[in-house]
């Protein structure tokens, strides 16, 4: 399995891991849980574009 694929797997898992925090945090108005949820989701989402840009700059 390619390193990029592995990284995307981790990114997906991280983004999904944020869901219970966002769901419970959003329902109960818990800022801590929402911040935790957005952190997981946001980092998971950012991995793909960062990896892409890194690959582009390395190619140059």
């Amino acid at each position: 399995m390619k390193a990029k694929t592995k990284m995307l797997i981790w990114a997906s898992l991280l983004a999904l891991a944020g869901m219970p925090f966002l769901y419970i945090g959003g329902q109960n108005g818990s800022s801590t849980l929402m911040i935790l949820g957005f952190a997981c989701f946001g980092i998971g989402m950012l991995i793909a574009p960062l990896q892409f840009l890194k690959g582009k700059s390395q190619a140059k």
Binding site: M1, K4, T5, L8, I9, A11, S12, A15, L16, M19, L22, Y23, G25, G26, Q27, G29, S31, M34, G37, F38, F41, G42, G44, M45, L46, I47, A48, P49, Q51, F52
Partner: protein
């Protein structure tokens, strides 16, 4: 949208359209993949939601979860078994006998491509939807030698005409539901929708011919386009006055069957005049020798067995209402509380958001068909030792990376819809164009499908708005609503989620921009033609 509470001004309109423009720029011109562009765009949409549309954090959290839920249980749930059925067929080397079988129907490669990418895709859309037609027919096209990029483009264009009246007319029924059209008005609207869909259908056929061989391709494919579109588009138009439920199914079926008859005519019972090496659509067939080298010749019907099972399950369950109702009782879904933005834009609480019905869902049919197909191929000795492990490994390797892309695209579209950004975009167009709105109405449909990936969702989102705008400006309501749903059908060809579905299943993830470069022209070109037609007629 009468009680729309968000100011429709330049700031709100531009801030809502900006992320969409950036998404398209990244995909089409920046050559970014959907995973990268979608993730960046989600951040932009979230920032706009909070900073401009006054979305509180709890609403942002809840709407994000809704988006992820939709991504998994509406789209990814189809992608995974679709890849599995492809890998099962591939492992058994069933595509080569499959291709040979199709050659016996017609040796003409252009008609073969139309048969799968237009006829079969349109037929599948008539009964299933949910992306299944693209997920199934794109790999089949690759299996008969079509270049993956073209396979995705052809399937996207070839199935979308049947979006409104396909899937047992769910998109059309949604339009009727939200607009509360009286029966007589609904019949006139159906006529307009049917006429536009016929136009779309003809354009789809001609586009496939053009891609295959430019002017020469159109000349060769024209008789088939005329006959097939008479069945599909003409059938849709006539049936729209008779039966909502099975319109798309019957039109799709007629269009598919007539291709077998066309294969026997003097036009198509010989190879295409365009040599395979002269068309960009076809690729050299490497697999051609493998089946024979093994000395085991699989028959066409055996090669097609997973797809026969898929058809039997789909038709047998979805078209027999008592069975469908019985199996449809079991649903999986989670409740969501109501959310409200600072502008008072409310999304009602729901006890079961976007429920997944596992026993009547296309994903289940795909999975069962793939597994039975595997057991059949294995029992007949067409799967080599270790085959199951290889199938699963390849499936996982293709599936998992697509998850993040699909999540980001769906999450951003749900966020745009449920924070009022989508509404502002449509109302901004309506408020500023006046009588010229007739021209713009199909573009609103395109926009709805682009953002939601669904004709049904686009109709739910914008039909009421289109109806109200037509009434206020004094335009022909039936024509505007017809353009809404036909525009939404065309918009399906450019919805990032749908494009991604195709690129994932044929293994060219990251090439979404290349697909969009073609489908954008088709969808926007169609919207222009529809808009001009309405302006001329009303």
């Amino acid at each position: 949208m009468a009680d729309f509470t968000i100011p429709v001004d330049i700031l709100h309109w531009v801030s809502a359209i900006a992320p969409i423009v950036i998404l398209l720029l990244l995909l089409v011109w920046g050559r970014w993949g959907a995973a990268e562009a979608g993730a960046v765009t989600w951040f932009l949409v979230a920032i706009v939601a909070v900073a401009v549309y006054r979305t509180p954090m709890d609403a942002l959290a809840i709407e994000t979860v809704k988006g992820v839920w939709s991504a998994i249980f509406s789209i990814l749930i189809v992608v995974w078994p679709a890849i599995l059925i492809y890998e099962v067929t591939n492992e058994a080397k069933a595509f080569e006998p499959f291709r040979k079988g199709i050659e016996r129907v017609t040796p003409n490669r252009l008609l073969q491509i139309m048969a799968f990418g237009w006829g079969f895709a349109g037929f599948l859309q008539g009964i299933t939807g949910f992306g299944v037609p693209v997920a199934i027919t794109a790999p089949l096209l690759v299996g008969i030698g079509v270049r993956p990029l073209y396979a995705v483009i052809i399937c996207l264009i070839g199935h979308a005409w049947n979006n409104t009246f396909g899937t047992l007319s769910v998109a059309w029924l949604a339009l009727r539901e939200v607009t509360a059209l009286p029966q007589a008005d609904a019949m006139v609207t159906a006529l307009w929708a049917g006429a536009f869909i016929w136009l779309f259908n003809i354009v789809a056929g001609l586009t496939i011919c053009w891609l295959y061989g430019k002017g020469k391709g159109i000349k060769e494919g024209l008789p088939a386009v005329i006959v097939i579109s008479l069945m599909q588009g003409g059938g849709t138009l006539i049936l729209s006055q008779w039966n909502d439920g099975v319109n798309g199914f019957i039109a799709g079926l007629l269009g598919f069957i007539v291709i077998f008859l066309l294969g026997r005519t003097s036009w198509y019972n010989k190879p295409s005049s365009i040599a395979p090496e002269d068309t960009p659509v076809l690729v050299e067939m490497e697999a051609a020798a493998t089946g024979e080298a093994q000395g085991k010749e699989m028959g066409f019907h055996l090669a097609f067995s997973p797809y026969y099972i898929l058809l039997a399950l789909t038709v047998g369950i979805l078209l027999i209402q008592p069975i469908k109702n019985f199996l449809g009782q079991w649903k999986i879904g989670i409740p969501f509380p109501a959310t409200e933005t600072g502008y008072g834009f409310i999304n009602a609480a729901t006890e079961m958001y976007s429920p997944f019905s596992p026993l009547i869902h296309g994903a289940t049919f795909l999975f069962v068909s793939a597994m039975i197909g595997y057991f059949i191929f294995n029992a007949k000795g067409y799967v080599e030792p270790g085959g199951f492990g290889r199938i699963m490994a390849r499936t996982v390797e293709k599936c998992i990376p697509s998850t993040i892309a699909m999540i980001s695209l769906t999450a951003l579209s749900v966020l745009m819809r449920n924070t009022g950004q989508a509404g502002v975009l449509a109302m901004g167009v309506g408020n500023t164009t006046g009588q010229f709105y007739a021209f713009m109405s199909p573009f609103v449909g395109v926009l709805g499908a682009f953002m939601t990936g669904s004709n049904t969702a686009a109709n739910i989102l914008f039909s009421n708005f289109q109806q109200t705008t037509a009434q206020v400006i004094g335009l022909n309501e039936a024509a505007i609503l017809g353009a809404q749903t036909a525009g939404a059908a065309a918009g399906n060809t450019i919805a990032p989620g749908n494009v991604l579905l195709g690129t994932i299943t044929v293994g060219i993830m990251g090439a979404e921009g290349d697909v969009l470069r073609v489908t954008l022209k088709v969808a926007l070109g169609l919207a222009v033609v529809m808009g001009v037609a309405i302006m001329l007629v009303i």
